[in-house]
Protein backbone atom coordinates (compact mmCIF):
# COMPACT_ATOMS: atom_id res chain seq x y z
CA UNK A 1 0.00 0.00 0.00
CA UNK A 2 1.48 3.31 -1.12
CA UNK A 3 -0.92 6.13 -0.61
CA UNK A 4 -1.27 9.89 -0.51
CA UNK A 5 -4.43 10.56 1.47
CA UNK A 6 -6.55 13.33 2.93
CA UNK A 7 -7.79 10.98 5.66
CA UNK A 8 -6.14 10.29 9.03
CA UNK A 9 -3.36 7.70 8.85
CA UNK A 10 -4.11 4.51 10.79
CA UNK A 11 -1.18 2.40 11.93
CA UNK A 12 -3.38 -0.69 12.11
CA UNK A 13 -4.11 -0.36 8.37
CA UNK A 14 -0.39 -0.14 7.58
CA UNK A 15 0.44 -3.10 9.83
CA UNK A 16 -2.30 -5.16 8.23
CA UNK A 17 -0.95 -4.27 4.76
CA UNK A 18 2.47 -5.76 5.56
CA UNK A 19 1.16 -8.89 7.26
CA UNK A 20 3.03 -11.96 6.09
CA UNK A 21 3.31 -15.45 7.58
CA UNK A 22 7.09 -15.44 6.93
CA UNK A 23 7.56 -12.21 8.92
CA UNK A 24 8.98 -12.30 12.43
CA UNK A 25 8.96 -8.53 12.84
CA UNK A 26 6.86 -5.54 11.86
CA UNK A 27 8.45 -2.14 12.46
CA UNK A 28 6.37 1.02 12.10
CA UNK A 29 7.30 4.68 11.97
CA UNK A 30 4.73 7.41 12.48
CA UNK A 31 5.69 11.04 11.96
CA UNK A 32 3.44 13.44 13.83
CA UNK A 33 2.99 17.18 13.47
CA UNK A 34 4.92 19.03 16.14
CA UNK A 35 3.73 22.16 17.90
CA UNK A 36 6.94 24.14 17.39
CA UNK A 37 9.65 24.59 14.81
CA UNK A 38 12.66 26.92 14.91
CA UNK A 39 11.29 28.54 18.05
CA UNK A 40 7.92 29.27 16.48
CA UNK A 41 4.65 27.90 17.81
CA UNK A 42 2.95 25.86 15.09
CA UNK A 43 -0.84 25.59 15.17
CA UNK A 44 -1.25 23.22 12.22
CA UNK A 45 0.61 21.91 9.20
CA UNK A 46 -0.45 21.73 5.61
CA UNK A 47 0.92 19.28 3.07
CA UNK A 48 0.76 19.36 -0.71
CA UNK A 49 1.83 16.48 -2.94
CA UNK A 50 2.37 15.74 -6.60
CA UNK A 51 0.17 12.76 -5.85
CA UNK A 52 0.80 10.34 -8.69
CA UNK A 53 4.55 10.96 -8.72
CA UNK A 54 4.70 10.73 -4.92
CA UNK A 55 2.99 7.32 -4.95
CA UNK A 56 5.37 6.15 -7.68
CA UNK A 57 8.40 7.38 -5.75
CA UNK A 58 7.21 5.66 -2.56
CA UNK A 59 6.78 2.39 -4.48
CA UNK A 60 10.27 2.82 -5.99
CA UNK A 61 11.74 3.39 -2.51
CA UNK A 62 10.11 0.20 -1.27
CA UNK A 63 11.57 -1.70 -4.21
CA UNK A 64 15.02 -0.27 -3.48
CA UNK A 65 14.73 -1.14 0.22
CA UNK A 66 13.67 -4.68 -0.65
CA UNK A 67 16.79 -5.08 -2.80
CA UNK A 68 18.95 -3.83 0.06
CA UNK A 69 17.42 -5.83 2.93
CA UNK A 70 15.56 -9.16 2.99
CA UNK A 71 12.11 -7.66 3.61
CA UNK A 72 8.69 -9.20 3.25
CA UNK A 73 6.44 -6.18 2.64
CA UNK A 74 6.45 -2.38 2.86
CA UNK A 75 3.53 0.05 3.23
CA UNK A 76 3.76 3.85 3.18
CA UNK A 77 1.15 6.58 3.56
CA UNK A 78 1.45 10.36 3.64
CA UNK A 79 -1.34 12.71 4.51
CA UNK A 80 -2.03 15.92 2.56
CA UNK A 81 -4.17 18.95 3.32
CA UNK A 82 -4.43 20.49 6.77
CA UNK A 83 -3.16 18.29 9.61
CA UNK A 84 -3.73 19.47 13.20
CA UNK A 85 -0.82 19.38 15.64
CA UNK A 86 -0.28 15.94 17.18
CA UNK A 87 -1.69 13.92 14.31
CA UNK A 88 0.16 11.58 11.98
CA UNK A 89 1.37 13.12 8.73
CA UNK A 90 3.33 10.09 7.55
CA UNK A 91 3.32 6.37 8.36
CA UNK A 92 5.57 3.51 7.29
CA UNK A 93 5.35 -0.19 8.09
CA UNK A 94 7.97 -2.79 7.20
CA UNK A 95 7.76 -6.54 7.74
CA UNK A 96 10.77 -8.85 7.63
CA UNK A 97 11.91 -12.23 8.86
CA UNK A 98 13.89 -10.59 11.64
CA UNK A 99 13.79 -7.24 13.42
CA UNK A 100 17.25 -5.91 12.50
CA UNK A 101 16.49 -5.51 8.81
CA UNK A 102 12.97 -4.23 9.53
CA UNK A 103 14.35 -1.45 11.78
CA UNK A 104 17.12 -0.56 9.34
CA UNK A 105 14.81 -0.43 6.32
CA UNK A 106 12.15 1.61 8.12
CA UNK A 107 14.77 4.19 9.19
CA UNK A 108 16.19 4.37 5.66
CA UNK A 109 12.72 4.70 4.11
CA UNK A 110 11.65 7.71 6.17
CA UNK A 111 14.98 9.46 5.53
CA UNK A 112 14.70 8.87 1.77
CA UNK A 113 11.03 9.83 1.70
CA UNK A 114 11.89 13.22 3.14
CA UNK A 115 14.58 13.72 0.50
CA UNK A 116 12.86 12.67 -2.71
CA UNK A 117 9.12 12.05 -2.48
CA UNK A 118 7.46 15.18 -3.92
CA UNK A 119 5.55 16.44 -0.91
CA UNK A 120 5.80 19.93 0.57
CA UNK A 121 5.00 21.14 4.04
CA UNK A 122 3.69 24.52 5.08
CA UNK A 123 3.59 25.58 8.70
CA UNK A 124 0.73 27.66 9.97
CA UNK A 125 1.58 29.65 13.05
CA UNK A 126 0.07 32.57 14.88
CA UNK A 127 0.13 35.42 12.39
CA UNK A 128 1.22 33.66 9.23
CA UNK A 129 2.23 30.59 7.33
CA UNK A 130 5.41 29.56 5.55
CA UNK A 131 6.55 26.80 3.19
CA UNK A 132 9.30 24.68 4.72
CA UNK A 133 12.48 24.07 2.79
CA UNK A 134 14.42 26.25 0.37
CA UNK A 135 11.66 27.67 -1.81
CA UNK A 136 12.13 31.39 -2.04
CA UNK A 137 15.74 31.68 -3.17
CA UNK A 138 17.27 32.85 0.07
CA UNK A 139 19.04 30.72 2.64
CA UNK A 140 15.87 30.74 4.75
CA UNK A 141 12.24 30.61 3.72
CA UNK A 142 10.61 34.01 3.50
CA UNK A 143 7.84 34.51 5.99
CA UNK A 144 4.79 36.05 4.40
CA UNK A 145 2.46 37.46 6.96
CA UNK A 146 -1.14 38.38 6.55
CA UNK A 147 -1.85 42.10 6.70
CA UNK A 148 -3.48 41.63 10.09
CA UNK A 149 -0.45 39.92 11.61
CA UNK A 150 1.04 41.30 14.82
Amino acid sequence: MFRITRSPIRVTTLVRAVGDPAAGAVVTFVGTTRNENAGRRVVRLEYEAFTRMAEREMRALATAATRRWPLRKVAMAHRIGLVPVGQASVGIAVSAGHRAEAFAACHWLIDRLKEIVPIWKREHFHGGRVWIGPQQGGPRPTVRRRASAR
Binding site: R52, H78, V117, W120, K121
Partner: protein
Protein backbone atom coordinates in the same frame (compact mmCIF):
# COMPACT_ATOMS: atom_id res chain seq x y z
CA UNK B 1 5.54 20.79 -30.12
CA UNK B 2 3.27 21.15 -27.11
CA UNK B 3 4.18 20.37 -23.50
CA UNK B 4 2.13 20.63 -20.34
CA UNK B 5 3.47 22.55 -17.35
CA UNK B 6 2.76 21.89 -13.70
CA UNK B 7 3.90 23.80 -10.63
CA UNK B 8 3.77 22.88 -6.95
CA UNK B 9 4.04 24.49 -3.51
CA UNK B 10 5.52 28.02 -3.50
CA UNK B 11 6.04 27.87 -7.27
CA UNK B 12 2.37 27.04 -7.78
CA UNK B 13 1.44 30.13 -5.84
CA UNK B 14 3.64 32.26 -8.09
CA UNK B 15 2.85 30.58 -11.41
CA UNK B 16 -0.57 28.98 -11.03
CA UNK B 17 -1.18 25.25 -11.30
CA UNK B 18 0.12 25.06 -14.88
CA UNK B 19 -0.96 25.10 -18.49
CA UNK B 20 0.27 24.32 -21.98
CA UNK B 21 3.13 25.81 -23.91
CA UNK B 22 4.56 25.46 -27.42
CA UNK B 23 8.30 24.84 -27.55
CA UNK B 24 10.80 23.99 -30.27
CA UNK B 25 11.58 20.30 -30.82
CA UNK B 26 14.52 19.24 -28.66
CA UNK B 27 14.05 21.99 -26.09
CA UNK B 28 15.65 21.03 -22.79
CA UNK B 29 13.97 21.34 -19.42
CA UNK B 30 16.58 23.95 -18.51
CA UNK B 31 15.82 26.04 -21.60
CA UNK B 32 12.12 25.91 -20.81
CA UNK B 33 12.79 26.98 -17.22
CA UNK B 34 15.00 29.85 -18.47
CA UNK B 35 12.19 31.04 -20.72
CA UNK B 36 9.87 31.10 -17.71
CA UNK B 37 12.45 33.02 -15.70
CA UNK B 38 12.81 35.51 -18.56
CA UNK B 39 9.10 36.24 -18.21
CA UNK B 40 9.18 36.27 -14.40
CA UNK B 41 12.58 37.55 -13.21
CA UNK B 42 11.61 36.96 -9.57
CA UNK B 43 12.01 33.22 -10.28
CA UNK B 44 15.73 33.58 -11.02
CA UNK B 45 16.86 32.78 -7.48
CA UNK B 46 14.28 30.07 -6.79
CA UNK B 47 15.72 26.58 -6.22
CA UNK B 48 13.83 24.22 -8.51
CA UNK B 49 13.60 20.51 -9.25
CA UNK B 50 12.34 19.05 -12.52
CA UNK B 51 10.21 16.03 -13.33
CA UNK B 52 9.01 14.85 -16.73
CA UNK B 53 6.06 12.47 -16.91
CA UNK B 54 6.26 11.98 -13.11
CA UNK B 55 9.95 11.06 -12.94
CA UNK B 56 12.89 13.22 -11.85
CA UNK B 57 15.09 14.42 -14.72
CA UNK B 58 18.27 16.44 -15.04
CA UNK B 59 18.06 19.99 -16.38
CA UNK B 60 19.68 18.78 -19.63
CA UNK B 61 16.77 16.42 -20.38
CA UNK B 62 15.29 16.98 -23.87
CA UNK B 63 11.52 17.27 -24.07
CA UNK B 64 9.22 15.35 -26.41
CA UNK B 65 5.81 16.35 -27.74
CA UNK B 66 3.09 15.83 -25.16
CA UNK B 67 5.44 15.67 -22.16
CA UNK B 68 4.21 16.83 -18.80
CA UNK B 69 6.92 18.94 -17.15
CA UNK B 70 6.69 19.60 -13.42
CA UNK B 71 8.63 22.35 -11.64
CA UNK B 72 8.81 22.31 -7.86
CA UNK B 73 10.93 23.35 -4.88
CA UNK B 74 13.09 20.86 -2.98
CA UNK B 75 10.74 18.55 -1.12
CA UNK B 76 9.90 18.91 2.59
CA UNK B 77 7.47 16.12 3.40
CA UNK B 78 7.53 13.89 6.45
CA UNK B 79 6.77 15.13 9.94
Amino acid sequence: MRVRLRFFAALREQMGAGGERTVRTGTTVEALWRSLVAERPELAAVPVRFAVNEAYVEASHSLADGDEVAFFPPVSGGA
